[in-house]
């Protein structure tokens, strides 16, 4: 007995560790993405998201004002300004050439060629003096090591949603996803009830055929289906993609729901029949409320699948502003803005926010025991 207990606890630990491992594996990148999506573009390029709460030190090269804007101050010509412009920061060191960018401490006076001097204060104010009048429009380079405080911004989201067209794609994706989730559930629930509880010839064959359809890869049907859609005039329309997703989702939906509905206690259905309910009333008043866990789990499946789908959308929808879905838009962004992490992180987060929301609102229905109290032991 000790042995068995020991093995079992070891197994429990293994399970716990595996679960924790997977949770961490999944959560950390998501969290990183979330943090990154709020960070400033410059900070993303210099430090990882895990350093987002500490100030980042970076070497910057800025150019002073145009030298011709110098003003005469006594004997000297002076050029003044701040290296941080609109932003704020703290200078740790500065230099006058690229060989020694950290040669001077803030406040020190650096000698430069042609009798010029430069001094940079901690707050970024610089002052360049020269005995001769300075000319030219190219600013003098200032090398500085600066510390910038953490900076979080909603700019990325604003930019992604309103200027990169993600918002429009977001709406387009909803336009595809909601009907493409609701329609198959409606059809499948009716079919599942009939296949589980109504007697008719050929029922078993029909169930077998549906199970068979589960293994048909949808890629096989794309071209014939598109040709059909084109020939009846719904080739590149929302109606077409709704029907396509419905068709591709139905076998799994019917299979899942039929198994669940067939497992409902026979007595409840017979009791309703004796109580005078018609098949439709049994379906609506007994089966549907009791099948909510199965409906919810299929809804989650179908919603996530349609939301993340790129292939079907590429085939059945056009590339126009009115029809481009999130996945398609992200693919385009990857091409045109592959280096702009802050844009990609924000768009990615916009695209996973909805599936997360759907999952967390629906999952509580999955764990609730809906049949409690109906039959003995239920």
């Amino acid at each position: 007995m000790d042995n068995i207990v020991g093995q079992r606890s070891a197994l429990t630990w293994a399970v716990n560790f595996a679960v924790i491992f997977m949770v961490v594996l999944w959560t950390v990148p998501t969290f990183g993405l979330l943090v990154s999506s709020f960070r400033d573009r410059d900070q993303i390029t210099t430090s990882g998201w895990w350093k987002s709460l500490v100030s980042s030190e970076q070497n910057i090269i800025v150019r002073s004002q145009e030298p011709e804007k110098n003003v005469k101050d006594g004997d000297l010509y002076v050029l003044e300004g701040n290296i941080f412009d609109a932003t704020s920061g703290e200078v740790r060191a500065f230099g006058v050439n690229s060989r020694e960018p950290m040669a001077f401490l803030p406040g020190a006076v650096a000698e430069m060629a042609k009798g010029r001097t430069m001094t940079v204060a901690e707050n970024g104010d610089y002052r360049i003096t020269s005995v001769e009048e300075m000319t030219g429009t190219r600013g003098i380079r200032i090398f500085a090591t600066s510390v910038t405080p953490p900076k979080f911004t909603l700019d990325n989201y604003e930019r992604v949603l309103f200027s990169e067209g993600i918002w429009r794609s977001f709406i387009n994706t909803f336009t595809v996803t909601i009907p493409a989730t609701v329609i198959p559930i409606l059809i499948a629930a009716f079919a599942a009830y009939a296949l589980a509880w109504m007697e008719f010839p050929g029922r078993a064959l029909l169930v077998a055929a549906i199970v068979g359809l589960l293994v048909v890869p949808l890629q096989m049907a794309l071209i014939p289906l598109l040709r059909l859609h084109n020939s009846i005039g719904i080739g590149k329309e929302y109606l077409g993609i709704w029907l396509a997703h419905t068709g591709f989702g139905l076998p799994l939906a019917i299979y899942l729901l039929r198994n669940y509905i067939a497992g409902l206690p026979r007595e409840i259905i017979e009791s309703a029949r004796v109580d005078g309910a018609t098949d439709f009333e049994i379906f609506r008043r007994i089966i549907l409320p009791l099948s909510f866990p199965a409906l919810a789990s299929f809804a989650i499946f179908q919603f996530l699948w349609v939301w993340n789908d790129l292939l079907v959308a590429t085939v059945f929808l056009g590339n126009t502003e009115e029809q481009l879905v999130m996945t398609g838009r992200l693919r385009e962004l990857l091409g045109s803005r592959g280096g702009d992490w802050e844009i990609l992180a924000a768009s990615a987060f916009v695209s996973i926010a909805v599936p997360l929301l759907v999952f967390f609102t629906m999952q509580r229905y999955l764990v609730r025991g809906l049949l409690a109290g109906s039959v003995k032991g239920g």
Binding site: E267, A272, R273, V274, D275
Partner: protein
């Protein structure tokens, strides 16, 4: 209320015949119990009455209407299931009112009838609860409430008490019988428990393997069982059966068992030498002088009565006596049998002689 006629009903599943021409007449207002071991077809018969199973041949009439092809909802029956079959997502009130709602009755009428049914069954405080918040006995009462609220012609009960514990079962038994006396509606009740059958029924139908073995009042079945099966099924503890033949001793017919035990016989048509089964109920044996000498095997005192298992020449017979007997195993005891209480069955057909 209505009478029910089951006329030569046959049920086949494919090529397997499970019901072999069953005939039962049920009078208006009668409490009829279908009883038998599991697999005897009693539940199937009830489900055919309800319309949940189709009939392969024969006819079932409720009132004077043949209902063979009429769906359950038009048969004007109400059924109480073994597992209660409550609707888990509806409150007690909605559960009870469901049949009326399906019949599209006005809301006020539904409320009134639900309140009335709840009052009858002491369910008024629980009307707003869900089935999962009720105890087993309360759930059973909700199921009954759902049946009585419709005021049907016939109530069908499918082993309604077998999920309850022993004590609650006795209480519910009394409640159901009381309910029947109050409503006076015809009830068909299925059980495998012969005590339930004996205590509740006006008429018992004993079934075995898809056939009716005997129909009669509880006492009729107890006193005059048609065959060995009914004799053994009805009565607790069950009847003693001893295999043997009719012999002669002192000019009188006597029963001689295969082992050689000699037991008294009543007036009978059985011929000398005929192979018979001898049946005597344990409670019809008394202990005293001049009885059949037996060797005590086990004594089981229960306080009010004592059950004695005793052996003679390999034949084991038990007796149930009111007296307190203190007999040691192995000691000799006399079993006095009144021939009036003896049942004789043919050994081959197992039918009553």
């Amino acid at each position: 209320m209505a009478n029910v006629t089951i006329d030569n009903v046959v049920k086949r599943y494919g090529s397997v015949q499970v019901m072999h021409g069953v005939n039962v007449d049920i009078e208006d207002g009668e409490f009829v119990v279908l009883v038998g071991p599991s697999g005897c077809g009693k539940s199937t018969l009830l489900r055919m009455l309800a319309g949940l199973e189709e009939i392969s041949a024969g006819a079932i009439s409720i009132g004077d209407r043949v209902v063979n092809d009429i769906p359950p909802k038009e048969r004007d029956i109400a059924m109480v299931f073994q597992s209660y079959a409550l609707y888990p997502h509806k409150t007690v009130a909605d559960n009870i009112g469901f049949p009326l709602k399906m019949a599209k009755r006005p809301k006020a009428e539904i409320d009134e009838k639900v309140d009335k049914a709840a009052a009858v069954l002491d369910l008024t405080p629980y009307l707003a609860r869900y089935p999962k918040e009720l105890s087993g006995g309360q759930r059973q009462r909700v199921a009954m409430g759902r049946a009585i609220v419709r005021d049907p012609q016939v109530f069908l009960f499918d082993e309604p008490l077998s999920n309850l514990d022993a004590k609650l079962r006795v209480t519910m038994r009394v409640e159901i019988k009381e309910l029947h006396q109050r409503l006076g509606t015809t009830i068909v009740y299925v059980t495998h428990d012969q005590i339930e059958a004996m205590t509740m029924a006006d008429k018992i139908v004993v079934m075995r393997d898809g056939r009716v073995e005997q129909i009669g009042s509880p006492l009729d079945l107890y006193d005059n069982p048609n065959n060995v099966f009914v004799a053994g099924f009805i009565g607790s503890p069950s009847m003693n059966f001893v295999h043997g033949m009719v012999g002669m001793k002192d000019g009188q017919k006597r029963f001689v068992s295969d082992g050689g035990t000699v037991l008294p016989l009543p007036e009978t048509d059985a011929q000398e030498g005929q192979q018979v089964i001898y049946g005597i109920r344990p409670e019809h044996i008394t202990v005293g002088d001049g009885g059949v000498p037996m060797n005590v095997v086990v004594v089981e005192p229960t306080g009010s009565e004592t059950q004695i298992f005793a052996k003679s020449s390999g034949d084991l017979i038990d007796a149930l006596v009111k007296d307190r007997i203190f007999a040691r195993p192995g000691s000799e005891i006399g079993f006095v049998i009144d021939p009036v209480n003896v049942h004789l069955f043919d050994r081959k057909t197992e039918e009553r002689i």
